[in-house]
Subunit: 362 residues, 2 copies
């Protein structure tokens, strides 16, 4: 069966073993005589799938016991509203670092519900770095401090050892595009959310890890379905959850665990990213715009410096069996999203192609 190297930023490549298992179980799951799509969310079959997904995610992310795990709908974009609606409960103030488009959207949505302050932004240099910050500039009584941990469009990230020190103010992290890719200390966060469609499963599931004391303080105007407490009290089954998506996430968690967990993924991911960045940094044609210390190991952005050559690169790479290397429509250039499911062979194929392209077009 034809398979391409899919460098899409999201939805994006999933482990082929997971897809094969899903295909095998599609018409009848185990001895159930039905598809996971057809199961009542109150059935013991699905309850087991949900419990297993939750338990595996807890284990993989090393989530402390004072946190709740929720599987929700609506993507990170819905979290942009849920976070302020639920967490702006005391001072009604929040701090933001604007390090990319999604970080900015999160800020803008929060600003509709409370006093939102931009502590630092890297928009001056097309979001090509993570600003250095001093915690003395933070709002001491903020209800939360929001960062987008990995910036999918621009290809930068907060390293695990470079998170802002927010003290008692809950740090909220959007980890949609680097969840399960390297080890982050969950206890440094009050809340972590991630749309599944990059490193965890299909679009339509959002995994939320929230410290329990942050649950239960939603504003009066909060729609019931956007209240974390409703979902926490009902173990993500207040209404029908996105059952099939949760099942795929479970299969991906099993795959990550079998590979050795997040630490093992981190090792492989760093090797993959280093190989690609090293090639780019040594190239006469390609350059990577993000400063080395802040580079994402999931989304590798690069340019030739010529719009025509960039377009040619995207076109020719497609013919060579590589899909979705075009950069985001807002910045152009190229982007190789190399999530957990992208094998080293995909990186090698890309580098071989880039080598050839450089020779022909330098």
């Amino acid at each position: 069966m034809k398979r391409v190297y899919n460098f899409s930023a999201g939805p994006s490549c999933l482990p082929v073993e997971v897809l094969q298992k899903a295909a095998d179980e599609m018409v009848s799951y185990g001895d159930s005589g039905m598809s996971v799509m057809e199961m009542s969310h109150r059935s013991s079959y699905f309850k087991d799938i949900l419990a297993e997904a939750k338990s595996l995610y807890k284990e993989l992310m090393n989530v402390p016991d004072n946190y709740e795990i929720l599987f929700l709908q609506g993507g990170a974009s819905t979290q942009f509203a849920m976070v302020p609606l639920n967490l702006l409960s005391k001072s009604n103030k929040a701090d933001f670092m604007v390090t990319g488009s999604w970080a900015k959207k999160a800020y803008q949505e929060s600003a509709r519900y409370g006093e939102a302050k931009v502590i630092a932004s890297s928009e001056d240099k097309t979001f090509s770095y993570i600003p250095k910050v001093d915690s003395k500039d933070f709002t001491p009584d903020a209800d939360f401090f929001h960062i987008c941990v990995n910036n999918t469009i621009y290809g930068s990230r907060f390293r695990p050892d470079n998170l802002p020190d927010t003290g008692d103010v809950p740090l909220v992290g959007d980890m949609s595009s680097n969840i399960l890719s390297e080890v982050y200390d969950v206890s440094k966060f009050g809340l972590i959310y991630a749309g599944a469609q990059k490193n965890m499963g299909p679009a339509g599931v959002t995994a939320v890890i929230i410290r329990k004391d942050l649950i239960g303080h939603a504003k009066d105007i909060t729609p019931t379905m956007l209240n974390y407490k409703i979902h926490a009290d009902n173990d993500s089954c207040y209404n029908t959850p996105p059952c099939y998506g949760i099942y795929i996430c479970k299969l991906v968690y099993e795959w990550v665990k079998a590979k050795g967990g997040v630490a093992a993924m981190e090792k492989i991911n760093k090797e993959k990213a280093k190989k690609l960045y090293d090639f780019i940094d040594n190239s006469k044609l390609f350059t990577a715009p993000v400063v080395p210390e802040d580079r994402s190991i999931m989304n590798v952005t690069f340019v030739t410096g010529s719009d025509e050559l960039d377009a040619l690169f995207v076109k020719e790479s497609k013919k060579a069996g590589m899909e979705n290397l075009k950069g985001h429509r807002s910045i152009g250039g190229m982007r190789a999203s190399i999530y957990n499911a992208m094998p080293m062979a995909g990186i090698d194929t890309l580098i071989d192609f880039m080598t050839k392209f450089e020779k022909e077009n330098a």
Copy 2:
């Protein structure tokens, strides 16, 4: 491969042909070299799937051109908030008929955002009928009038010829559990919403049909993701939509069309329902609590009159290859959900079993 007759109220049985096709295309869709789950929602492959899903749904439901079709997330429960947040734009008043648990929840959520009035309720008789109403009792300047067209838990429905005549007030219908089951005139509604997981696809997709003039009047407090205009302006791709679920919906739409469309489904559904209700009405053991003229043709509720016998029925039916015949936890008894994908053979198997059960236990 083992398959059972699955009478679940939702998520519920899907056509086995759809599941088989999904399995076949799971690892690589067409010539794409990737799963539908792995496709960028901005790719031409997915754009085609979305356009086709929308076009088929429009055709099957005979949606007039002055309506927009949206594929959203969050289920009907999220619509309970979206409807008032977007439609309560002039008088801030809305009317409700409370004919079941979901109708009541919709009313309760609206009451948080405006003046919500219960025009009629059938709670006095455990929601076993649809109340007769007089349009003179309706709020003349209401922003909308809400009904739950089919009541999944209690097994009643508003027939297509029995919709309240709301004049110029937009009628809003929750059709989660009877969408595509019989012909309703969309032009009688201002808005129809349906969670996919009963008659249309997997949980995690909500299809909304909204008259275009009702778009663009959301309250200031409305979260961006709960604003119909955002989704209408971006053709359901403001953020990443639930791509895989939409793809399954498309396969189900193709299946319904191949069967002859909604009118053909209605004919079969009425035959299935009549056969089952006729058996119950002629039985000495089983009774159907809903008044005949208001009975759902999707969710058939029945009881023996004895909790012990009901429990035995559910247990024994499971052994006989029928799943999820237990009534909703709030009312007990039995419920056979016989959605489009339930074949006549499933009805026959159930009636055979009921005949045997009655002989043994009358």
